[in-house]
Every structure is written in C-alpha cells, then in structure tokens.
C-alpha cells in the first residue's frame, strides 16, 4: 500500500466514524426526547 492509499484509507475511515458518531448522538437525543414525551403522558 502506497502512502497515498494509506492516507485515503484513513480519511475514509475517519469520515465513516464521524458519521456513525453523529448518528449515535442523534439516536441518544431522540430516545431522550421520546422518553420525556412518553413519561409526560402518564
């Protein structure tokens, strides 16, 4: 693997990790909001 390919691989992996991190963060916020709403009703 050339240094350029290595760099591309790292960049792509970093991008995927950031996207996954944001997705998980979004789910945390969503579940928090759902929980608040559900408890508010009962």
């Amino acid at each position: 693997m050339t240094p350029e390919e290595m760099e591309a691989l790292k960049r792509a992996r970093r991008g995927r990790n950031v996207a996954l991190g944001l997705l998980l963060l979004g789910l945390i916020v969503l579940f928090y909001a759902i929980t608040i709403v559900k408890f508010g009703h009962h």
Partner: protein, 305 residues
C-alpha cells in the same frame, strides 16, 4: 487513468448514504409526512418526527437490501452502474448488513415510540419491497412495477396510522392512489430507457409486451388513478380544496398520458411526450399530497367529519 477494478478506493459514509436511495426516500418522507399531517387526531411532534424518521429508515434499509440483491443487475445498466456496489466501493455483505440493521432499527423504534400497528405495517412494507418485489417478482413478471408500486404506496398509510392507531378506508385510499400512480410513472421512464432493461434481462413491460401494450396500460392506469384520486372527496373524507386539486391534477395526468398512449416511437425518437409525462408524474404526486394536507389544515376536521 484507471480502468474497472474490483477493489476500489475505501468506502466512505457517502457510499452508505447512496445505498439508501436518497431520491426515492425524499418522496417516501414527503408522502409519509403528508399521511401523518392529513390524518384526523393529534400526535406529539416528537413522536410524529420519529414516525417519519422510521418510515425513512425503513425505506433506506429496503433500498440497501434491494441494491445488495441486484448488484450484478445494476452493473449492467447505465442508470444504476454508478451505485456503490457495482463500483466495488464496499464488500457486498456490508450492504446487506447495513440494510438489515436499518430495517430492524426502524421497526423497533416505531413500535417503542409510536404504536405496534404502524411498526407491523412498516415491517410488512420492507419485507414486501425487499423480498416479494426485489427477489421474487421483479425478475419474473412484466407486471413487476405494479407490484413494486405497492411498496412505495405504504408511507402515507403508515404516517396516517401512526396518528390514528387503526386502519380506515382513507389511508387505504392514499395507498391506492400511489399504487395506481406508479405504473404510468415508471413505464414512462421505462419507455425511454428501454434498451437498458432489455440488456439487463429484466422483464420490463416495454421489453416483454412491446410498446403498444405498455402505452395502452399507461393510459388505463391513469384513468383508474383519476377515479381513485377523486374517491376521498366523493366519499367525504376531504373537502373541496383537495377535490378540485385532484380533479385538475389528475385530469392533466390523463391528458399527458393520451399522446403517450396513441404514439408509436421509431428509432432515434426523442421521446418528448414520455419524458414530459415522467417529469409531470413526480410533480403530480407532490402537488396532490400537498393539496391533501392543505385541505385538512384549512378546512379542518369539523367541516368534513
């Protein structure tokens, strides 16, 4: 610089995004949201958002499973050859796992946050698209698009039921509208990308039954669509705003199908009426569902109940 390769550059998040068929999803989100907004009753905005999100996630999962199954087929058609799997941007199994994960998550979240019946129908719609349509019927029958249209017809039904919690004739009519809309919408496209489907061996209507039959069926479905789109008004489920909008929009739809139905295209035909019909068909669905929501928000439930 580089020719076709089996191992391409490493997959990026955009490749996974592309697996979800974002352009199809925009229509799914829109019709799902419209079903939700047009339904009688109220839903907490957070839960309403969650319902639409789950519909979108489910559609994305089904889209990824579709691309996982059809990777070889997609590689043979110009329109789909640039999808992540034909380009070799990720292992094929990753698309399958991604699709399963999105699908399962969407159904579970829908069940927890909204209601069980919406989750069940969402699960049915995903299985219907990924298995009944993609794996079973698309490679076997020229009516494949009619059956596939059923999958696209679920979102407004699910959106509506997320609010009401039970199935009534109104959401079923919304289902029927998209069901009848899909064949003329897609066959118009299939008429001008005909050679591609023939090459890939998919039994699309124009390939198997020929142009004449396809064109006749486009018109037939458009006429049925005309009647079905007016049914909510006739049955008293909506007010005049929707009724008049449906009359005008569906009338124009049939009018644009007429030249397509009577024409015969030879070699090198520019296919203008077909392209115009396809372009209008997308606008039609957005406009019709916007009218449905406007009708509900302006005239309110009191006038139509």
């Amino acid at each position: 610089m580089e020719s076709v390769q089996t191992l391409s550059s490493p997959s990026e998040w955009r490749d996974y995004y592309a697996l979800t068929k974002p352009r199809v999803m925009s229509l799914v989100v829109f019709t799902g949201l419209c079903g939700l907004l047009a339904a009688p009753g109220h839903i907490n905005p957070v839960l309403g958002f969650t319902a639409v999100l789950c519909i979108a996630l489910g559609a994305g999962g089904a889209g990824a499973l579709n691309q996982w199954w059809e990777a070889d087929l997609d590689a043979r058609m110009k329109r789909t050859a640039k999808r992540p799997l034909p380009l070799g941007r990720m292992p094929r199994a990753n698309a399958r796992d991604f699709g399963v994960a999105l699908s399962v998550a969407s159904v579970l979240i829908m069940d927890v946050a909204v209601n069980t019946i919406s989750a069940v129908i969402l699960a049915i719609s995903i299985l219907y698209y990924a298995i009944v349509y993609t794996i079973w019927l698309k490679p076997r029958t020229p009516q494949n698009i009619v059956i596939g249209g059923g999958a696209g017809a679920f979102p407004p039904l699910i959106g509506w039921i997320a609010v009401t919690g039970h199935i009534t004739w109104m959401p079923v009519l919304l289902f029927a509208i998209i069901f009848m809309w899909t064949p003329p919408h897609f066959w118009a496209l299939a008429l001008f990308v005909q050679s591609d489907y023939a090459k890939a061996g998919v039994p699309m209507m124009p390939v198997v039954k020929g142009q004449a039959v396809t064109r006749r069926q486009i018109l037939a479905y458009a006429v049925v669509l005309f009647l079905v789109s007016l049914a909510p008004w006739w049955a008293g489920g909506t007010g005049a705003i929707y009724g008049i909008a449906a009359l005008v929009l569906s009338g124009l739809f049939v009018a644009l199908c007429l030249p397509v139905a009577v024409r015969r295209a030879g070699e090198g035909d520019r296919m203008k009426p077909e392209k115009r019909l396809f372009g209008y068909s997308v606008l039609y669905l957005f406009a019709l569902f916007t009218a449905l929501v406007a009708d509900r928000l302006i005239l309110g439930p009191g006038l139509v109940a």
